[in-house]
Symmetry: C2
Subunit: 476 residues, 2 copies
């Protein structure tokens, strides 16, 4: 790989934030515009999102949900109906005050999430236990007025899906909350090769208006955590505020139990920061828009391009295959597709054709192997499977190395300074300790994992009774 | 069909507007909310849109376009860069003036369309003729501040795709404009069974900022026209305003030529008003979320439900098949699925099972036939193909019956009063005549069809030279 073809990417270890910005722009995932805090999803970035959408939409439908579409605007009075909800979201909504030349009599907020719209609709369509469960989902854009923004991780506008469901009982809603968290976790681990910790948010960190919030948390290369998907048991808070009642099996009026759950373009940020390296992006094969890129060598020589295009046609039946037959130099192409994180490169030149072989280069390890074109397809499939698996295991190993136990607050601070990553530590349950830890160290409670352990009998902060094991970390 | 099961739909002939409102709500395509002029797309309505999207997205990709996603908000200064564009859109945009508690220093408009955002982005990524053509598309929501709204036809917010492309030459852009109009026309005719007239909009009716606009126009049951898709040659208007230049093949700086084209949820309104009848919706098989609905008869009797579910499993491989095994009465179910316009109903009861047969009922004609379960699948496929074809031909016949020729203005007015529909008449090319016709009759110029004829040598309005054949109609 000739040095002069390298497009500069800041080294991860020198400046992780700059590395991230370099990668998202140079791999052509996004571009900036004159709209503050918003990003343009370029073809490559959007294609990754389309693949995630396709997988997630399939699972959402398989679990019995139907897609709908709610309005973008929410009248201010509607947003105010559930008190915790408005309190949580008011500071970060965009307000429409004029339509054309006319000043509106009531402000409209641009949806930051759609609980209130769904609640209003549910009230009008749910009457009997026969109408339950009502399992809805929508794919949409939402807006949150963030001060500091970063592509994928925190933007004024982002794309997501939001599920909204109504159930007869608390238990049914609980099961739904768990079910959808598991759908997210499986998608992260099996498709994006991003290992996650499942758990419950503390009261302080839960969704505004929820009874409780379940979350999946992942760990980035730099040791910071990323909330990667949340699933909320809403209880009957919205249902009571909006009067969503049904005649139950005993013929009596009863209030529904609700859930909501969301998964966003943010996950692309996780994929970048978990798998990327100093040469750029590394995209897991299952989610990669292009899994294999063919680069013809000495393509001006007779037969090379024909051979390469034939390969492409043959492989395209089962493998998402690209070819770059432009007149750019092979070295430039190698760099370009390494930057874009395409899992596998296939090189083929005149000598290879003579010997009925091709060269395969793995993006994740750089490993190069010469392979006979007999059974090429199944051999590529095997390598892609291995890459997918290796990425997941490497990420898991990294997370394990970056997960520590702290019993005392001194240990806690020391780990955070020296190693970063997840800190497992006991917590008394008091928000004051959460606030103290955040103020002192910058770390926040990520979740109380479903798999609880009793690491010690004292809270890491106040030394009162340690009731819950909590994963703590600095987070995006 | 017992009368007491009928859900009231106003007769089309009594009150077409009320019939439309009844159908969209009772077939559960949409619901209203407290957001003025916006609609909720319910599961059935959204599923139809998903099927349209799937078909259109496939064609957009096959013709070489890539999907991207642009921000929802447009800073006021950006929107103002192209003068005709801002003039056209300013009266109908929603303005965001506050983010959280803070008043913005510059207003943001909620995109009514995204030409200016694409133009800004194109300027930053296009440098050489090698970067051309640039063929982009996005799926998104847009907002236009309409005074009077109607589900699907005219709403404050709607869903659509908008294509945006850059080309080296005027001719290339022209070809693209035609290509995408043809994609829309084919989708309408072959999938939605809605016949269209292709043509060019007059200067008065063209898109704000375009060089010219091509359109497909369809005719509704009540004789009013609906603009069903448009494709614009933008020339270099936006490109000059934004400075989108490239080094051409001669090494000189040149301005790009652009196109844009859009297709919206409005087309669902066309489908409803072209095929629907007094029993409700009629959905063409190719676009129907459920193509065949199985209604078991006497389902409490042994073996009926097993038989029905077996059928469903078998047919589902190739036909989108539903089953209603709820405890509602068959008559209620018949009405429900007729209201929803499901193309074909399959009834099966104990006697049918004995005789190894089922009953099929067509939604479009009401025709009932008893069919052996041997080769059932291929027989159903044949009937679905026939329904698709019949719907298209019926719609075409209706359009022909509702298309008249007017040579004089008296004829024009008489036709509009007595028959409605499309009026083919010559036009001098003067906007004054268009305005006069509109003021006097309510009809607008729909398009100058690509297939021109010389019906007479005089303008139907002013009796000056008749230069263009124009389709006129009252329109939605």
């Amino acid at each position: 790989m000739a040095k002069d073809f390298v497009r500069d990417v800041t080294s991860m270890d020198d400046d992780f934030a700059q590395w991230y910005t370099d990668v998202v722009t140079k791999a052509e995932l996004i571009d900036y515009s004159s709209v503050r805090g918003s990003m343009i999803l370029r073809p490559y970035g959007y294609a990754i999102w389309e693949n995630i959408q396709k997988q997630l939409d399939k699972r959402i439908k398989e679990t019995g949900h139907e897609n709908v579409y709610m309005p973008l605007f929410i009248p201010e009075s509607l947003l105010q109906k559930e008190k915790d909800h408005i309190e949580g979201f008011a500071p970060e909504v965009a307000w429409v005050t004029h339509g054309g030349e006319e000043k509106l009599t009531e402000r409209l907020c641009v949806r930051p999430t759609s609980e209130v719209l769904f609640a209003e609709h549910f009230k009008s369509i749910i009457h009997s236990y026969r109408d339950l469960p009502k399992l809805y989902n929508q794919w949409s854009n939402v807006v949150r007025w963030e001060k500091t923004t970063r592509p994928f991780l925190r933007t004024l506008e982002f794309l997501w899906q939001e599920g909204h469901t109504c159930h007869e009982t608390d238990e049914d809603a609980h099961e739904e909350t768990v079910r959808m968290l598991n759908v997210y976790a499986e998608l992260c681990e099996e498709y994006l090769a991003v290992p996650v910790i499942k758990g419950q948010k503390t009261e302080k960190e839960k969704f505004a208006g929820a009874k409780y919030t379940y979350t999946i948390e992942s760990l980035m290369h730099d040791g910071k955590a990323l909330q990667s998907g949340t699933s909320h048991h809403l209880g009957d808070g919205f249902a009571k505020a909006f009067g969503i009642e049904f005649t139950n099996r005993e013929g009596k009026l009863q209030t529904v139990q609700q859930t909501s759950w969301g998964f966003t373009t943010r996950i692309i940020g996780a994929m970048i920061m978990v798998h990327g390296d100093d040469r750029g992006l590394v995209v897991p094969p299952k989610i990669a828009p292009t899994q294999l890129m063919i680069v013809p060598i000495a393509q001006h020589k007779e037969g090379v391009l024909d051979f390469a295009y034939d390969l492409k046609d043959k492989l395209s039946a089962t493998i998402r295959t690209g070819i770059d037959a432009s007149d750019k130099k092979p070295g430039w192409k190698f760099n370009e597709y390494e930057m874009k994180g395409i899992p596998l490169r296939l090189e083929v030149g005149p000598r290879d054709i003579e010997q009925q072989q091709v060269v395969l280069v793995r993006r994740d390890t750089g490993e190069k192997q010469t392979i006979s074109i007999e059974n090429l397809e199944s051999q590529i499939q095997e390598i892609l499977t291995d890459i997918q698996q290796s990425l997941f295991e490497k990420a898991k190993k990294h997370r394990e190395e970056k997960t520590s136990v702290a019993v005392t607050f001194d240990e806690f601070k020391e780990i955070l300074t020296n190693n970063g990553g997840f800190i497992k530590a006991m917590w008394c349950g008091d928000e004051a300790c959460e606030n103290f830890i955040k103020d002192e160290t910058g770390a926040t409670s990520r979740c109380m994992p479903f798999e609880q352990e009793q690491l010690s009998d004292k809270c890491v902060c106040c030394e009162q009774e340690g009731k819950h094991l909590v994963y703590w970390a600095k987070a995006y």
